[in-house]
Amino acid sequence: MNSYYVINLLIYAAVDAMACLGLSQQFGVAGVTNFGFIIFQAAGGYTAAILALPADSANGGFQSYLGGLNLPFPVPWIGAAVVGGVIALPFTFLVGRRLRGDFAAVGLLVTAVLMNLLATNYRPLFNGAAGLSLIPQPLQGEYNSQSTGYQWALAAVAVALCAVVYLFVRRITESPYGRSLRAMRDNDIVADSLGKNLLSLRTAMLVAGGAIAGLSGGILVSYITTWSPAAWGYAETVVLFAAVIIGGAGNHRGAILGAILVPVGFEEVTRYIPTTNGLPPNLIPSLQWVAIGLLIVVFLWFRPQGILPERKRVIRLAPLRPPAEPGPAGPVPADSVPAGSVPAEPGPAGPAPRAEAAAASALPRPTPPPTAEDVPGDREVVLQAVDVVREFGGVRAVAGVSLSVRRGTLTGLIGPNGAGKSTLLAMLAGTLPVSSGHIRYLGEDVTALPAYRRARLGLIRTFQLASEFKRLTVMENLLTSVPGNRGDSLRGALTGPRYWRGDEDAAIARATALLERFGLEAHANSYAGDLSGGQRRMVEIMRALMAEPRMLLLDEPMAGVHPNLARKIGGELLTLAADGLTVLMVEHELAIMDEFCDPVIAMAEGAVLAQGTMSELRRRSDVVEAYLVG
């Protein structure tokens, strides 16, 4: 029995699986749709080739190419991975900005075609359409590269590297950093508003995926000893995407399965169709492409999650334990006190009711509690808008608004439809740029600061429309907004679970307490997208609270919520305000304003009409008219 074919399949499977893992990491986990993916594999292949080949003049002179450094194994493979990662950097201009996903995808597709065109036509680069051949194989001088022993060894190395890549992407994905990636995938604007630096995340994924693809290209080139533009057209990218979609985007085992089924299985199976039939020779390959197209569309319709869908990450709720010793000086078990927060009030010993104590310590304590003589009007201004204007093509949605919000207040923002409330809120949060004017937060001018930076300073917003991370569980939703988790960086993720376990457990404890406080602990491990409208609202608010905000910007938080629940949420907010949290809340329910908000700002037609308590506003004729008319 001829084992060369099995070896061939094995190496191709390893290379394709590696490429699919890289693509799945970009597309399935981080939501970066990289239609130019094949360029990175091609770059890796070419790099490995020109590093391994001798100088072109010494190689018979009939190929012309750059490089030709004749470097020994494993340098060509290392170079392939490095170059694959480095050339990802220019692509960030397409995916980093706020460009529609489909536009960015088109740009990447076009870039792949462009690169292929350049490589084909510019001969001095990589020998044009003929490509590079007679590429030396690893350790070719020492071993007979055509013997079965050598080839099995090469296959084993390829499979081993594929396993390494698998562990690498798994480690990234199963970490707080991976959770942030998935949050970005599910709703990037919301992730941005919770402090995630989208550009940095996407760049990291492009580079990581590019390096993986580059390595796969290097291995492939070492096996087949040639590389030409015909081997990496945009069709190859489509095949890889089909593999990831069918196998299961976002599931790493799914990526491997997809690689085995599509580029290897499907393409190889067609070789077995006997060729003596009277069919025209072009028919089978054409039908093969039709089949791949059909598979893509059919899978996206019937089973978009793929054969192996993304697993649900079930997180055990951290049990609450009372402090081992009452009293301020006593050591407190780690999981009932969140890391870095102020310890429970000094005072007489005596166990406070467990849930209350833990819950109280779970909630954010950004500033010292106010003293008794505190008067709202005397407190410092946390957020200030100075003459803020927003224009949309000639229409002034916000026409010169100036307002101040003081610490510890629950300020309401009301107004009829079209008054500009949500627009103003968006500008305050940074998710929308101002046309003119200034915004000051904690004394600093933050007008030019992007949303995620403001979030890291403690300015957190919620959204009017449903904005939970649908494919994350409720618990995961809450955990994403935790700032300062050591595992929420690439380096932290790669260092491993032992490094960030502490921070993670502390966050889980806080989240558990919050869930119990809001009564949703039973749903902790349900997908947020499966909850009812009111429950999703609460998840959003809890998520905002988990971010340790100093100031909350809430956009209609009670919309669609049962009045009892609304009252409960309002009560929670009041408690938090008493502890120093500042809230600015847009609401339509005037009863809520009555009960909870002081002061209240009334807007109409893009400008502030008046400010005061609800009862004061009700007495003003201009406010009443704006509501009747507007």
């Binding site: 029995m1 001829n2 060369y4 074919y5 099995v6 061939n8 399949l9 191709y12 018979g60 009939f62 065109l117 084909t120 036509n121 001969r123 044009g128 359409a129 003929a130 490509g131 051949s133 007679l134 055509q146 096996y223 087949i224 000893t225 040639t226 590389w227 030409s228 015909a230 081997a231 399965l257 085995i260 089924l261 290897v264 299985g265 190889e268 199976v269 070789r271 077995y272 006997p274 060729t275 003596t276 039939n277 009277g278 069919l279 025209p280 020779p281 072009n282 089978i284 390959p285 054409s286 978009p304 999650q305 054969i307 192996l308 869908p309 649900k312 649908k470 997908y527 997208g529 499966d530």
Partner: protein
Amino acid sequence: MKFTSPATGRRRRALVLAAAISAAALAALTGCSAASSSGGTAAAGAPASGGAATGSALTVADVAPFSGPDASLGPTYLASCYGATAAINAAGGVLGHQLTCKSVDTRGDPADAVPAVNQMFASTSNLALVIGCTSDEAAAVVPIINARKMTMFCMTGQSEFDSVHFPYFYRLVPPDLEESYAMVAIAQQLHYQKIALAFGNDIGSQTFIQPAIAALKKAGITLTTDQTLDLTATTFRTEAEAIVQSHPDAIMTEALGSADPTLFSEIEQLNGGKMIPVIGTSAAISPAFFKSAASAVGASTFSSQFHADNLVTETSGPAYQAFSAALLGQQGKVPGATGDFTTYLSAPGGVHLYDGINLASLAMIMSKSTNPSVYGPDILTIGDGAAGATVCYSFASCKSLLAAGKAIRYEGPGGPTSFDSYHDSTGIFQIDTYSANGQVNVVGNLSAAQLRALSG
């Protein structure tokens, strides 16, 4: 989006995963058992190279593109395989075995060619010979086939194979280098003073340019412009305009697929309705090319303005008779061979691979073995001919001479062979044209001396 409950979902997924992996593994392993080769009874388990079991059929594999831009090449070679093996089988076969043909589609790119060839070795139990291997895939597959110690007769003109030693590699077609010289020699013979170049940007065509430029210089012919055609583009108006503006006497070109026909029609249009004479390469001698070119500018216009170089092939005599009878007998039986079948009588793949199959078969008989390591040297003996060898022109006649104990030299429709140390044999060139009905005519000859005068 609905998510199934974890337990049933997991079980189902595990089953699907297991099924998928077993299917893929099965597909791979079946490659090692009963062959899927066309026709014939194939014994399972016999090693690829080594003695074949008595009575079983020997396979000749056509490793070439059957799909993609060069899809016309595979069927051309298959036609000659069918012709040659039919004649061999009619004369009693080789050492008691009948011969059968198999096509192996490389899809025109190296990454696909490698698994195709590996699968061929895994699934073909009585492989005796490989033919084909064009420039699209040769660089990738020749080392593999050579390592498996299988004889191959290749069609690639790439310069790599002019001086790299692969013991199992044989080539009966000239390197592209020589074809460039032949084209320039044609230009000389037709007294053209100014030539424009228009070559495609693919592997096979790129290699003509530099030698052609050098040869034109040596011949004292002016190069008016050198245009490279992107084979994926659909119009070449700018290139055509540049060519027309440079006022050449003729154009030297090779740009396969739809590129050349498009170029011709645009040149004609921009040149006030008059087509400029064209000198093409041997790749233009194919029914598919004639069909496209004729529909682009009209059959009579095209045929009156077109010349191509081609390796000398006989058009009469005993070798040609045998060849023509064998090949034409396969008309209509070769899958994918469309167009005028008689063109295969002149197509390089048609003629020289027929010779290659005959040479290999006769070598097997002479060495009494189907093992390429054993019969290989006899190919050279029969091709070059030892001193005092009798010349024979067909498999049947050569076989009977061998049976009578005589030393032979095979001379087929491709003319006499003369292998150098790299197993390359190039013959002399002739000048071909088409008639308006697509028939190929030989209108002149080029001598080796003419070519040598142009080489650098």
